[in-house]
């Protein structure tokens, strides 16, 4: 999925990009703070239902109304941001670590290791990422961590290829040759000299991947194969809320969907801006 999208228009002014950077970074920060402080901010127990308060509209008591089990939607939305952010965090950590290691290894060796890694990436790419995740969940039991690991595997090739391409440029620089001549080991050179130079590229990719991982994970939850009841999760809220739509109460799905889209737009745009700035700075 992430391979499909073209980068943001490069014609944007520097000023606008700085403004966008601050705006999206601020909103992301706000989201993270909300997730961390959810227990303090939530007015109700996210899992405590009241059968007499089923499908209530917004009120002073329940700001966003209640769901089909009488649970406070605002609290569930707040708590949902925790799983919504935790899952992508796992994905990004696992996929970036593995992808970066494989990418640098492939660029450094340039021999059969490179082609083997390339073949592996191709193989993973031949599985649509959603299908790969579903197969993984089929074998393990459904849950947040299983789903996150599954999505990580699907994300490794995209990061790996990007890192390999950037690292290839880096390992041909004279400084690497100089370090080799001085007798430094490959691992030392890669981790202490090549890797730090790749950070800007990796950081931009990580931010964008975070947004896409959020979409994939919420999708798995939506299919009922990710986060399980009664834990609040945006994808899960969209799914459970679907039952209420036909009864005339689309609020649960719509609120969770809106929250998800805002978060995703934020992270993807932030990644785009970081990527454009990085390119602009270098040349």
């Amino acid at each position: 999925m992430s391979a499909v999208l073209p980068a943001g228009q490069a014609t944007r002014g520097d000023q606008a990009s700085r403004l966008g950077l601050w705006f999206f970074a601020g909103t992301s920060f706000l989201l993270v703070t909300m997730a961390i402080l959810a227990p303090l901010l939530a007015p109700h127990d996210p899992n405590g239902g009241d059968v007499l308060q089923v499908l209530q509209p917004s009120s002073a008591e329940h700001w966003l109304g209640t769901d089909a089990s009488g649970r406070d939607l605002f609290s569930r939305l707040l708590y949902g941001s925790r799983t919504a952010l935790l899952g992508p965090l796992v994905v990004v950590l696992v996929a970036t670590t593995a992808g970066t290691a494989l990418g640098i290894l492939a660029a450094w060796r340039r021999d059969w290791v490179d082609s083997l890694v390339g073949r592996l990436f191709d193989l993973v790419f031949s599985f649509p990422s959603m299908l790969l995740a579903l197969l993984f969940v089929a074998v393990m039991s459904p849950g947040l961590i299983t789903a996150a690991l599954a999505v990580s595997i699907a994300f490794i090739p995209a990061i790996g290829r990007l890192v390999r391409a950037s690292a290839l440029r880096e390992v041909n620089e004279p400084y690497v040759q100089a370090l080799l001549t001085q007798g430094f080991g490959s691992f030392y050179i890669c981790s202490r000299h090549v890797l730090p130079n790749l950070w800007p590229v990796i950081l931009a990719q990580v931010t964008t991947s975070f947004g896409y991982a959020m979409v994939e994970l919420a999708g798995i939850s939506f299919l009922g194969l990710g986060v399980q009841e009664p834990t609040a999760d945006w994808g899960k809220l969209i799914q459970t809320g679907q039952g209420s739509i036909v009864r005339g109460y689309p609020q649960e799905s719509l609120y969770a969907g809106t929250a998800l889209v805002i978060a995703v737009v934020c992270f993807i745009s932030l990644g785009d801006i970081l990527a454009t700035r990085k390119n602009g700075g270098h040349r």
Binding site: L123, P128, G219, G235, Q242, I245, P250, G257, V264
Partner: protein, 332 residues
């Protein structure tokens, strides 16, 4: 898609043998990928917890006679490689195994559900190509205001996952306006189309946005090329310049992306079918996964991967038609 002048499609490339070899190579590579993918999937599903015999028998799991009979019938106690070989030979001959859940051949199960998914993908692909191209063209050719508003709309559409689009469309068009049914696939062709309209829009929306972005970018780029300026200077009217010079030259990147996007639609059906309660392959896969019906999971996954690979390969072949420079053998 857009107009391709028939004179561009030459009957035979200069090195026909090279092309035939290339096609054979591609098919071979695809077959190899499928083989590896199917073997990995098979191994992976073998490692799944839960004994298939126990799942099949359900309450009668303690009957040793029934257990032995099922083991013999399905060969669960054979070595993994033998089981894989049996599955593979069956698959090649059109025998996709037996579903525990439906007590039915997977092939007939797939056959009954394929039309919904196929229609959905075709419908969605048409929407992606037509709307994506049209929107991109409009954005590229309009003034700043239209361009910016289209771009903002595209960014939002691009970042909105299909399940969110589904609930918004259901709420607006099914609940409030009552134009379309909420669930089901319908009977008869027109009724089916009616039932599949919202799902197809859902499936196509973010891909159309990606398509529109690429169309806009590549048309904008082409517009400022020297040959376009020359054409305008020669006094050709704008329409001709647009059609013959700008659009045709920007088709290559557009086709690439269109192909990737259409291929991605195949996998996207899983969520869309689930969201709209359609009885297609995607919802069958999800049901099979939750109920641990691994024979169905195995065969449907391989079919989805095959469709994905074929769609990607078709794009590569399209290149040669659209841009003669990429034809094999022509530029050697």
């Amino acid at each position: 898609m857009a107009v391709i002048d028939p004179s561009v499609v030459r009957p035979l490339p200069r090195h026909a043998i090279a092309v035939v070899l290339d096609v054979i190579g591609r098919v071979g590579q695809m077959a190899a990928t499928l083989l590896v993918a199917s073997f990995l999937t098979f191994l992976f599903l073998q490692a799944a917890p839960g004994d298939p015999v126990q799942i099949m028998l359900g309450g009668r799991a303690n009957d040793p006679d029934a257990v032995r009979r099922l083991n013999e019938q399905f060969g669960f106690e054979d070595p993994v490689l033998v089981q894989y070989w049996n599955w593979l030979t069956g698959f090649v001959h059109g025998d996709l195994g037996t579903s525990f859940l439906f007590r039915e051949d997977v092939s007939s199960l797939v056959g009954s559900r394929l039309p919904t998914t196929a229609l959905l993908v075709v419908f969605g692909s048409i929407l992606v190509v037509v709307f994506g191209f049209a929107l991109g063209l409009i954005a590229a050719r309009s003034g700043r205001v239209v361009d910016t508003s289209v771009s903002v709309f595209l960014s939002i559409a691009l970042a909105t996952p299909s399940y969110v689009i589904a609930i918004v469309l259901i709420t607006v068009f099914s609940l409030y306006l009552n134009w379309f049914p909420v669930f089901g696939s319908g009977d008869g062709f027109l009724d089916r189309l009616h039932h599949l309209t919202l799902p197809a829009i859902t499936l196509a929306l973010s891909s159309s946005a990606a398509m529109a972005r690429v169309t806009r970018a590549s048309i904008k780029e082409e517009e400022h090329r020297d040959h376009v300026t020359t054409a305008i200077a020669r006094g050709l009217d704008r329409r001709t310049v647009l059609r013959r010079h700008v659009v045709r030259n920007s088709l290559l990147p557009i086709t690439t992306v269109a192909g990737i996007l259409v291929a991605a639609l195949v996998a996207g059906t899983v969520i869309v079918e689930q969201a709209f309660g359609l009885d297609g392959l995607g919802s069958l896969l999800v049901l099979a996964i939750t109920r641990k019906d691994y024979a169905v999971v195995q065969s449907v996954s391989i079919l989805v991967i095959a469709a994905f690979l074929v769609a990607n390969a078709l794009v590569d072949l399209l290149y040669g038609i659209i841009d003669p420079r990429t034809r094999i053998g022509d530029n050697r």
